[in-house]
């Protein structure tokens, strides 16, 4: 079907490489502006949402922990440990 001596066939096959000549640069200039990096704000929002959810779920243990931090000292640390244990317990109970 394709005769290499056919001048039309030869002309059709003759497609030389076109130099870029600034074409790529022109395309890049017309691209939409760079989208802002939303990872930081998204992570912060997710962290805050998680904290709010935790506070709503574990209200009392968190209050105890805050008190422990406020009073300080060895008794405060013990209280904080108890709060963490209570929170873990609450989580385990809710998971069942």
């Amino acid at each position: 079907m394709n005769d290499p001596r056919d001048p039309v066939e030869a002309a059709l096959r003759d497609a030389p490489y076109l130099d870029d000549g600034g074409f790529t640069e022109g395309v890049l200039e017309t691209l939409p502006p760079r989208r802002p990096d939303r990872r930081g704000p998204v992570l912060l929002a997710a962290g805050l949402a998680a904290a709010a959810l935790g506070a709503a779920t574990l209200g009392e243990p968190l209050t105890a922990a805050a008190l422990a931090l406020g009073t300080g000292g060895a008794s405060g640390v013990l209280l904080l440990g108890a709060a963490v244990a209570a929170a873990a317990g609450a989580l385990l109970r809710s998971a069942r």
Binding site: D6, P7, V8, E9, A11, L12, R13, D14, A15, P16, Y17, L18, D20, F23, T24, G26, V27, L28, T30, L31, P32, R34, R35
Partner: protein
């Protein structure tokens, strides 16, 4: 050799990486611009505008490229769609010379003559010839880009080539 098209696309999608996209444009610009020059009947300025539109559309739709087809096949499909949209918007072109063309004096002029001769073909013949002789498409891929069975592509090819022959090749006995 450099990174593959798929690797470059992944970088663009994940990190908005414009250097990776520039590498893709540099790699495929010649093939896309050549096809569009033929589709546009030798109008290089229009072909370059449509090529630019093709790459911008590709940038916007890169997430939709599944990797099922080759990247170049996907790009050619975008280019053909851009050409079809432009043809719908534009007035139908009036070929400047309905008769036989004088023989070209050199290879560059011969190439331009060929591109101009495309303007005298029916759109489906133009599409078949431009895609089937594209730098990096098989006939199967060309048919896929055009949305035709391979047999349909081949029959448009034959008719288109015959018309080009009548226009470009000096006929025996012609004055």
């Amino acid at each position: 050799m450099g990174p593959s098209d798929a690797e470059l696309c992944a970088r663009v999608v994940a990190h908005d990486d414009r250097h990776a996209f520039a590498a893709l444009v540099r790699r495929h610009q010649s093939a896309i611009r050549s096809v569009l020059r033929r589709l546009c009947g030798g109008d290089a300025a229009l072909a370059d505008d449509l090529s630019q539109e093709t790459f911008v559309r590709a940038w916007k739709g890169l997430r939709s490229w599944s990797g099922g087809a080759r990247f170049s096949t996907w790009l050619h499909r975008i280019a053909v769609n851009a050409w079809i949209s432009q043809a719908r918007r534009a007035e139908p072109p009036v070929p400047d010379d309905p008769g036989h063309q004088e023989a070209a004096s050199g290879p560059v002029e011969a190439r331009r003559d060929l591109e101009r001769a495309f303007a005298h073909l029916r759109p489906e013949e133009r599409l078949a010839l431009a895609l089937a002789y594209a730098q990096d498409l098989t006939h199967e891929e060309a048919a896929e880009v055009a949305g035709w069975p391979v047999g349909t592509l081949k029959s448009h090819l034959l008719r288109g080539k015959e018309k080009l022959r009548q226009r470009l090749v000096p006929q025996e006995g012609a004055a």
